[in-house]
Amino acid sequence: MLVDFGPFWHGRVIFAARGDQLARFVNEGIREGIVFYKTQKSERGLKAQVKIADFKKLRRAARLTHTRVHILAKYGWPFIALRWWRRKTLIAGILLIGITLAVLSQMVLSIEVKGNKVIPTEQLLQSADNLGLKTWVWQKNVDTRKIAEALVEEFPDVAWVGIDNQGTQININVKEKIRPIVQTERGNLVASKTGIIQELMVIQGTPLVHEGETVKAGQVLIEAPVNLDNPSAQPKPGVVSKPNPTLPHAIPAAKGFARARVWYSAEGKVPLTEDKIEESGRSAKGWGIKIGNRVIMVTTPESPFPQVTKEVKIYAYTFGRNWHLPVEILSIDYKELETVHLERTKAEAQQIAEKEAKAELQSRISPGASIIEETVRVLASSGEVERVRVETETYEDLAVYPNP
């Protein structure tokens, strides 16, 4: 629907006139060149609309006919504009805020560096600053691709730099190169588990522990010999050997055994009463037709069991690669579930708990370890749950090379 925009744009004064000669008042107005709109008579007089400029001309007609005129409403853009003009400071403030926001949004206000672990952030920021990426510069003046390339070239430890902007924030995403790790522990034999050393046999290297000592997992047991080279050999004069920082001198590995006693413990918890949901073994089958997303079941539309798991198979028929029938056959297998209430005696519960604990231990004991002793202890139960702890002592070789 088209709205008549004219009255709004030019503005209208809606007024009421009271007097005895209203018809004459209108005639006099017309003579003055006034155009009346929506003129209507009511018990209280006359109600009409005139243009803003015409309203002043009404004065003469009103005086001539002894009519009293008063404004009911002012309608249109000129009045709105006048109201705004009276609040020009407010409008100016809103405009100023808008302009400020628009200007600020075009600038770089914050820079963040992400993904660096080795290279300090300040250093990266400093370099970015030197390349022209700093706060309070125009975003369009920052050539992010060029700066990213320059940063990769500047830092040898950087593999890749990506610069993206989120509004006024610039993110420098850094991926650092992964350098080979220089192993200080290489060649040493360390303890794989915590235990008490019973037998220490050093074939090569220096023992750092003695028999009877408790060692923690990861503790160095036998240190690799520092240098096996001929100690009397001297470097030739004038030849400076260059050490390679990334590839250390081939260190001969320590060799030996460290047999120790190791303790394991595991706990099993089994409640005396338990509700389990199991399949009862009863099942029912139903089939239906599937058209698009709609399923029409032909047989057994509802599950016959209250608790059920459903297995749905859909048979779709395709011709060649791209053609398939819109109708598919669907078969549903309903398998009844039932809640089984289990009640165990204390002895049964303890037996199951022991079994569980032993199974857990079995997975933790290193293969090849010989079991010296195994104790099963029934822990104080709260009445509902039986707790059993199995403790195993083994005799095994702890000395292993640390994982690279």
């Binding site: 209108v26 005639n27 017309i30 009346f36 709109y37 929506k38 008579k41 009511s42």
Partner: protein
């Protein structure tokens, strides 16, 4: 004298009467809208009755919910439910 002359000339040249005469031209669209051109002045108006003086007598509209949609010097547009239209007084000169 001039009116009569112009009328006779108009008749002789086969002009339509609204061009030749000075009388009002009334256009009624349905019952809701009336357009009166060439009226002299408003004599009386209310929501039930509007009386206009024209060169050919007093023109009277009766009806209800009359609103003068636009009032110009030579043109008057009335909206409302029109019942009757009558001429009173005046005579053909």
């Amino acid at each position: 004298m001039f009116d009569k002359l112009s009328k006779n000339v108009g008749e002789a040249l086969d002009f339509p009467p609204d061009v030749a005469g000075n009388g009002p031209k009334i256009t009624i669209t349905g019952r809701q809208e009336v357009l009166v051109e060439n009226y002299v002045e408003i004599v009386e108006f209310s929501t039930e009755e509007i009386r206009l003086s024209t060169l050919e007598g007093e023109l009277c509209f009766t009806g209800h919910s009359f609103v003068l949609k636009t009032v110009l010097a030579a043109e008057l547009r009335i909206e409302g439910e029109l019942d009757s239209l009558t001429f009173q007084g005046g005579s053909e000169s």
